[in-house]
Amino acid sequence: MQRRHFLRRASLAAAAGFVPHRLFGEAKTLPGRATPAIVGRCDELYAPDLHALVLRAVDAARSAGASYADAHITWTRTQSPGWTEGERRAIGVRALVNGYWGFFASTVWSPDEAARLARGAVAQATAHGRGRTRAAELGPRATIANGEWIMPVKYDPFDIPVAEKLDVMNAFTDYASSYQVGIGTQADMAFLREQRISATSDDASWSQTTYQTQAGFSVTYRDEYHAHLGAGAAGADGLGLSGRGWEMISESGLIDMIPQLIADAEASRYRTVVDVGRYDMIFSADAMATILDRTLGAATELDRALGYEANAGGTSFLDEPLQRLGTPAIENPLITVTANRSVPHGLATVKWDNEGIMPDDFTIIQNGVLVDYQTTREQAAWLAPYYQRIGKPVRSHGCAGAESAMMIPMQHAPNLALEPGALETSFEELVASIDNGIAVLSLDMSMDQQGLNGLAMGTMREIKKGKLGRYVDNGAIVFRAPEFWKSVQALGGKHTFQWSAASRSKGEPSQRTSHSVGAVPARIKQVSLIDPQRKA
């Protein structure tokens, strides 16, 4: 009864929210050209009711002996306008038998294939047990059914003609190059839409559509009268990878940004060679987001901390979680790190994770103390003794995900945030507090396998007498995570908080997912500045 109910809803959803089948038909001919005769021998396989397929898969897994199963379909469109277009389909089934997992996936959407994948996953899980039984307690089960969620965007980028996108890129180039002599431009965009249709053997069934939009608009500046200064470059802010639609670009006020971009590019030609040493530094919100993600973000993935990623993504300097939880990870009460999958436009934002859990907003580090890890249903149970000790329910934080349905679901990073300081301090006020130091605007990181030691190059500027000065060439900072976080002396206020994009690879076969990381600018005392190109 209930099943029939959501089958009907699913068909409606497929017709309303998803790419209508009709769209494909429209694309098949070009104006004025003859339509070739096509033998439609595979068309009968096209299954508009994708919910029925994932439900069939979990049913088949359960009948074959799975104690739990989930099945996912992903239908992904990608586009780099004017350059390339992509479509990926996948269906994957994960099954749990005697506490062991198995996973089968392919690209064929048919009822027989759904059943084959389910039986395969069960057989594989059974083989993994080698006759043994392992306790795999899944935390509280999903309670949703018939869910549907579409990431709120104003314009689906795939509804906007490629020609319009090319026009925007050309307009940027035309305006910028006519604005001033000596201006070069670069423009690119990329779009992704993923439709995910999922079901679990706990009678949960849902679908979600998420978007990722990204654009790069930059200018380079070179003038022949001051050739000794070299070229300068600057890129438009606020267009990094984000959970938004076409409006991120169309409503960005791009053309109005051009004078400032050119001024920034011009200023960036005034450079100085790095003067190595230890400096008090101001990190921008973006630079703090990068460091947060690659240190505390990576280190609080529970599978890494326990050694499940030892042969792949790495381990964690915050290992042996049950001993460590409740103790200081960082000796600095200023630092509070939270996680969520709910922030608007977040890259990891969803309504339900891959196990049907509605993710909660949770705290990982509270005033320096490690209070939680990123978890899935199975992983939450691993921390049960801790949760019981502090009187919290044992519950997944909803961090199960996968790059696509071709990949087995596992824990992936949620959106992460470094909470703002109590005072309304601005970036400029932080800079003004330093007499002779460095401002770190953005970073490229090289981290070790435990999220502990890093070297980062990036865009840096001198700070002289409380003001931003010349750009610093070839500077890099070296740091060890606990000392870095301990050295944070002041944080920017709420209004300085800003989201950036991040992504991380883990698992074998390797899968990559994106998430957003929010942070505020910070003042860090005595950071080592080196010139990595001048070797020891």
């Binding site: 494909f24 694309a27 001919t29 070009l30 050209r33 003859a34 339509t35 070739p36 096509i38 439609g40 021998r41 595979c42 068309d43 396989l45 004017g82 390339t84 277009e85 479509e87 389909r89 996948a90 994957g92 062991y100 198995g102 996973f103 089968f104 996936a105 392919s106 690209t107 064929v108 294939e113 084959r116 395969g120 594989q124 083989a127 047990g129 490629v162 020609a163 050694g307 499940y308 990623e309 030892a310 042969n311 381990t315 290992d319 042996e320 596992m410 090289s446 981290m447 070790d448 396998q449 435990q450 030691n453 190059m457 070296v478 074998e508 076969p509 990595p532 190109q533 070797k535 020891a536």
Partner: protein
């Protein structure tokens, strides 16, 4: 049994060649051809078209903390379509083979084509079927028949010995049946079936005091030898426990083959492009003559040769690229002298007057023409130095010098007076492969290492003055 995708069932034809993979999990020649013909039939408006088809079935198993963690069995065929009319081009890809998906893919490529500028001079016609490719043996029936990696007991090969000594084994192994096919409307038909297999193992102390690693990939699973890898990883873990910190600085370094590969691979992947070198970019641009490469000049130690050959029995690779262009046997660097840099067909036509490309498969063999030494001999000849297992996250800092940074991991030891004296804490390094290949003391016998995306056969090297720039206390 046939392919699980009914759209890919082979046509019943007297002329169809038998499938290498009897289950059709990866595409046969006939199935690839029939798929390409379905795509060509959907095209409108003339011009030329190229279809690349890659198919893969893969079965894997993953273990950690001395138990099997997950596994997977996946099948996927990806299709890449390029349409060209008078230099305007459109590109689209899909992994779905139903008619509606193919029609959509063709439609997208053709819409892009309509938006592109025509520039007949810039785009040579698609490759005609003129240059034959070699035929290395890359298909191994026993590997394709590895239906379930679990049954091979590959996980237990490291779990059992690690468990006995209270250590934790983690690892990954897979076997895959693959095919690559390229067809174009000018009559080019290329198809190659190949199997791949890999295994890598990390053995760690449960309290994080030591870590060891070993891994390798081959086309033939029977050459992977997980027991041997397990033993190496286990020994490295035991011998690396409780390392002490020593001062960073310049040391004589003995780099095991995997460590050499980790440093040299970026050179092969990034720096061998002729167009870069001739536009004053990268390590092979001649700094004294702008616009010229260093071809003909000595660039590394004269004992060393950097080469690639699809027919190399230890380093074979599918003998053509995604455009259907054949990989040739090439010595990029012959006894220290730069001889070749890769170029595409357009460069060949314009600059060299040759109607072919010299593509880079990114497979490589680094070898010595002279006597080789064992790692034991290198250690015996070291007064004070460092023995390195491998590097982690090698990131390029500067393209011109190829200066890179990263850190050592999974086993690093101090050598004094010809003997390994103690495990040391990991180091961050800042070093260029150009520098190390010019500071070679001894060269080992090349061996296949772990590089699943393109094979590599690499020797151990003993090098002077390797720059370790900081202590990294991650294990």
């Amino acid at each position: 049994m046939m392919s699980h995708d009914p759209c890919l069932r082979e046509p019943r034809s007297l002329f169809a060649t038998p499938s290498a993979d009897p289950d059709g999990r990866s595409l046969s020649r006939a199935a690839s051809q029939s798929l390409a013909e379905r795509i060509f039939a959907l095209m409108t408006g003339g011009g030329t078209s190229t279809v690349g088809i890659e198919s893969r079935w893969r079965n894997n198993v993953r273990w950690a903390r001395n138990d099997i963690a997950t596994g997977g069995d996946t099948e996927q065929t990806t299709i890449e379509l390029t349409r060209v009319i008078r230099g305007a081009s459109g590109n689209a890809s899909t992994n779905a083979t139903a008619d509606d998906a193919l029609r959509a893919c063709v439609g997208r490529a053709e819409s892009l084509l309509m938006l592109g500028d025509e520039s007949p001079d810039d785009y040579p016609d698609p490759l005609p079927t003129v240059h034959p490719h070699t035929e290395p043996t890359l298909w191994f029936g026993d590997t394709a028949a590895m239906r379930d990696m679990t049954l091979s007991a590959v996980a237990d090969a490291s779990i059992t010995p690690a468990h006995t000594v209270q250590l934790w084994a983690a690892g990954y192994a897979d076997a895959a049946a693959n095919s690559r096919a390229v067809f174009n409307t000018q009559g080019l038909t290329r198809y190659y079936a190949y199997t791949t297999a890999q295994c890598s193992i990390t053995v760690r102390d449960p309290h994080g005091h030591g870590s060891g690693w070993a891994g390798v990939d081959w086309n033939d699973w029977s050459r992977v030898q997980p027991e041997r890898l397990a033993q190496i990883a286990l020994e490295k873990c035991i011998r690396s426990r409780n390392p002490v910190a020593i001062e960073p600085g310049r040391y004589t370094a003995i780099l095991e083959p995997q460590a050499v590969c980790d440093l040299v691979a970026p050179l092969v992947e990034r720096a061998l492009r002729r167009g870069d070198a001739e536009s004053e970019s990268g390590p092979f641009a001649d700094p004294r003559r702008g616009g010229y490469s260093r071809i003909g000049q000595r660039v590394i130690d004269p004992r060393l040769t950097l080469s690639a050959d699809p027919m190399d029995p230890e380093c074979g690779i599918v003998p053509f690229n995604v455009n259907g262009e054949p990989y040739q046997a090439v010595k990029w660097i012959d006894q220290g002298v730069l001889r070749e840099l890769w170029y595409d067909r357009e460069y060949g036509l314009r600059q060299l007057g040759k109607d072919f490309a010299l593509p880079n498969s990114e497979a490589f063999r680094l070898s010595s023409a002279t006597r080789t030494n064992t790692i034991d001999e290198m250690i015996a000849n070291t007064t004070r130095g460092i023995l390195v297992t491998r590097f982690n996250n090698v990131d390029l800092l500067d393209f011109n010098s190829m200066l890179a940074t990263g850190n050592t991991r999974d086993g690093i030891w101090l050598i004094e007076h010809g003997k390994i004296v103690k495990p040391v804490k990991n180091f961050r390094f800042t070093e260029s492969p150009m520098f190390i290949l010019n500071n070679v003391e001894m060269v080992g016998a090349p061996q296949r290492v772990f590089r699943p995306l393109a094979p590599a056969v690499v020797p151990a090297l003993m090098v002077r003055d390797f720059s370790f720039t900081g202590v990294v206390d991650a294990v």
